[in-house]
Amino acid sequence: MLRRTTVLISLAMLLLPVAAFAVGASNQGIATVLTPLTVNGVRDLDFQNVFPGVAKAVAHTDATSAKWTVVGQAGAEVTVDFTLPASLASGGNNLSISFSSSDAGRNTVDNSAGATTFDPTVQETTTLEAASGELFVWLGGQVSPAGNQPAGVYQAAIIADVNYTGN
């Protein structure tokens, strides 16, 4: 009986009309403005063409570094945490990649040159800009192709976690 009730409640919830996003639809009733959190993946970390046996680094200030923007509650504290790969893959072949302790940068304005650097292997705690609620994050790295690195397009994923601390 309890299970059936639960299923019915679940179905009813799914069928409820979603009143969200009706911006400005009415000034009656209860209005709650929900503070959103948006994370934008602006661009990938792109090493472009590399040569076998020649390491290639992309600094977080370079135009081909990875870039995210975060917009949320002004002044709120967030943590930024990366899950980084040890290698990139192309078919069955791997290409090693490494990250230094200054390969990540953050700033509350869109200026990577003036960013505060941090270690991308360690969780970073910072605050969103006090008025705009913005945060910009960049990431560089270095790939080290072997002398006999097979040709190919090597790819991997970087995961950026943005976590509201509530502080």
Partner: protein, 290 residues
């Protein structure tokens, strides 16, 4: 752009008869991978047992979005920095809601501009003790409609593709819940041209202490007229918390000042019905700037 002042609850007439009208602040973006999540914290209780999270793809490519739950809460380290640790397999004694909150749907594909409501339904066991239970909601998104990298005929190219995860807290309250804080340490220290306040807090009751911490440094003989220094920050004391707060005092003349600390549950980013109120805590201590 959202601000703390943008978070308001306004009641008109008979609240119970009218469903909440939820307004999501529009965020425009040229990003190719972008997911909006609102609100930034979810609250559920034993009477409603449900909550809704709104997602929107604000980018210009299709996004695959998945939602997971994992136990975790903010903790501070010896430097006063706050970290959020996710604990995939918490001990049975931990107040985790991760295993019994259902998410509908757990996975979705969002076209550019598309919006989706995700519903959370609590299904705790009947023997769940009164108190507050926590989990983190992990919204993972990845671009599935982006341009493929150019294939090189001869040679090697390398690219790391972005994924994003937005992580917000979810609290479930059952039965009587209360919160408060014990100020177990409040020590000022002069470091170079700043007053550093070491604030150590321990939560009381059976729910997280979501509050505001205010610090003021003012001259005692003229506390109203002196501009002094003021600092405030939201805090979340799930169990205990240490914060190291640096107040720059380069513009203040030498003399004796009073450093005041106030902790209150007056948070304007939390809907009023979800605030657990407790009596403010206020202390002060003299500080000599020489």
């Amino acid at each position: 752009m959202p601000t703390r002042q943008a978070v308001r609850e306004c009641g008109f007439g008979w609240r119970g008869a009218l469903a909440p009208l939820v307004l999501l602040l529009a965020v425009t973006s040229s990003a190719r991978a972008s997911t909006l999540v609102a609100p930034h914290a979810l609250y559920m209780d034993g009477s409603s047992r449900s909550a809704v999270l709104y997602l929107q793809n604000t980018g210009d490519t299709t996004q695959e979005v998945s939602i997971e739950l994992e136990f975790g809460y903010p903790v501070s380290d010896s430097t006063g920095t706050v970290h959020v640790q996710l604990i995939p397999e918490p001990a049975p004694s931990e107040p985790s809601a991760a295993d019994w909150v259902r998410v509908l749907p757990r996975r979705a594909f969002l076209s550019p501009g598309e919006r989706r409501a995700v519903r959370f339904l609590a299904e705790p066991g009947a023997d769940l003790e009164d108190g507050e239970y926590w989990t983190r909601v992990i919204v993972a998104s990845q671009d599935i409609g982006g341009a493929e990298p150019a294939v090189v005929a001869e040679g090697v190219s390398a690219q790391l593709v972005l994924r994003s995860r937005v992580i917000i807290p979810l609290s479930y309250r059952k039965g009587p819940v209360a919160t408060g804080v014990n100020l177990v340490g409040f020590e000022p220290e002069i470091v170079d041209s700043a007053v550093v306040a070491h604030v150590r807090m321990e939560r009381t009751g059976n729910a997280a202490y979501l509050a505001k911490l205010e610090l003021s440094l003012a001259a005692p003989e003229d506390p109203e007229g002196s501009p002094g220094v003021h600092w405030e920050r939201d805090i979340a004391v799930y169990r205990d918390l240490y914060r190291r707060i640096e107040l720059p005092v380069t513009t203040l003349p030498k003399g004796v000042y009073v450093l005041s600390l106030r902790l209150s549950t007056e948070r304007d980013d939390i809907p009023a019905r979800h605030i657990l109120a407790s009596a403010p805590v206020q202390v002060e201590t003299p500080v000599l700037l020489d």
